[in-house]
Symmetry: C2
Subunit: 119 residues, 2 copies
């Protein structure tokens, strides 16, 4: 029931591809993340995933197209759809997704974060 200031939370971390939990409701997490560079191709079999751009822009690559998502725009990636976020410059995003969501989905590797920090 306390408010969360997004700018303040974003100031607390600098690492890329490492979502931080800033809220939880209805079995969903609200996360903040900073992205830069190319992520791995992956999909989430059971989770739809929302990316809301707070600052900057990035490209969401699908197997058959690419969508550029800019500040104040959001994108919902449906479950089962392979995707790869690519950010030429650092972008700050808010994520909204089930608490069960693993950042790299079905592609486990060195970028996989099994435990996320709560801010």
């Amino acid at each position: 029931m306390e408010k969360v200031n997004v700018e303040q939370k974003l100031s607390l971390f600098a690492d890329h591809w490492s979502p931080k939990i800033v809220g939880e409701l209805n079995g969903q997490h609200v996360k903040l993340a900073k992205l830069k560079g190319e992520f791995v191709w992956h999909k989430h079999d059971n989770e739809d995933e929302l990316f809301f751009v707070l600052k900057g822009d990035f490209k969401m690559e699908y197997r058959d197209k690419t969508v550029v998502v800019k500040e104040n725009e959001f994108l919902i990636v449906p479950r089962g759809v392979e995707h790869r976020p690519v950010a030429d410059n650092e972008v700050s995003v808010m994520l909204f997704e089930p608490t069960t969501t693993l950042n790299t989905g079905n592609t486990k590797g060195e970028l996989t974060k099994h435990v996320l920090e709560k801010l």
Copy 2:
């Protein structure tokens, strides 16, 4: 899988206390709303509700305290907690909540919206 531009969607309506659906994922709706004035006291028995302020600010009144929520801040109102949003000036907010959420919760009346427009 198409992106949604929040500013563009906000430009499509002017009415207050009438949330518009702009996205759906994992049984949740993403809504946009413009608030001005005093809403009704209500609670949601089964739904937590997130208010993210896009432009302006508003007060969330609880029975025992008031939280002022400003641009770039969000607030999660847990299920079962009575609340009343009050906006002295117009504020634009993004809502995340289950698709089952009725805007006035347990307080049905003239402000209740049984059917929401999708933008």
